[in-house]
Symmetry: C2
């Protein structure tokens, strides 16, 4: 009952070759999948989410965010770097201070959709 297409990962054999073949074609590119997981990874931390919600309410400098979340400036700065790499926030320099804000409305939409999911 073994045919050439079945991978031998499962102890014995693949059960539904037809399903696997059909789904395999629909699967998005593996690179896209990694990119997407990076986005969600960036969202998957309470501190970063709190920062994003704060920035959704107002543009803020690093020191203000530290004060608001009652965390060290260093911790916030590290997290902002991650958020920026994930293109979730952008920054604007004004004198000594750096003001952060959400990079676009799309980010707010993503977060709000997540919240709706949790509310069920």
């Amino acid at each position: 009952m073994i045919d050439g297409t079945s991978e031998d990962r499962c102890s014995i054999n693949v059960i539904h070759d037809d399903v696997i073949e059909r789904v395999a074609e629909l699967m998005p590119d593996s690179d896209k999948m990694s990119d997407l997981s990076l986005l969600y990874k960036a969202l998957g931390d309470p501190t970063r989410l709190r920062i994003l919600f704060a920035l959704d309410a107002a543009e803020m400098c690093v020191c203000d965010i530290s004060a608001l979340l009652e965390m060290t400036q260093s911790a916030i700065s590290h997290q902002l770097r991650i958020l920026k790499q994930a293109r979730l926030v952008k920054s604007r320099k004004e004198g000594k201070m750096v003001f952060y804000s959400l990079s676009d409305l799309h980010v707010a939409a993503i977060i709000e959709q997540g919240l709706r999911h949790v509310h069920e």
Copy 2:
């Protein structure tokens, strides 16, 4: 220049007390934030995303998913448990096999929105 409301987290002092106060009131509950981060954490892994995309295309048993993703049954099973705890997938037992599927259309919507974000 120190007033009672300013936390001393920043090296010296809070810059914009008014902003902080206003944003503080708008911040969602800290528990909700943790719940939401758990959701995103569950989405923040390439393997789990691939599983979710596969299940978006068709209900599948564990063995089929292992074959499709070319990973061990054990690894898939562990990840399915995490996805189930996050209420992203549901399962249905049929004889020896367990079939998994997305728990609702909302999950598919979340993933597709994420993909759209990556596509910019």
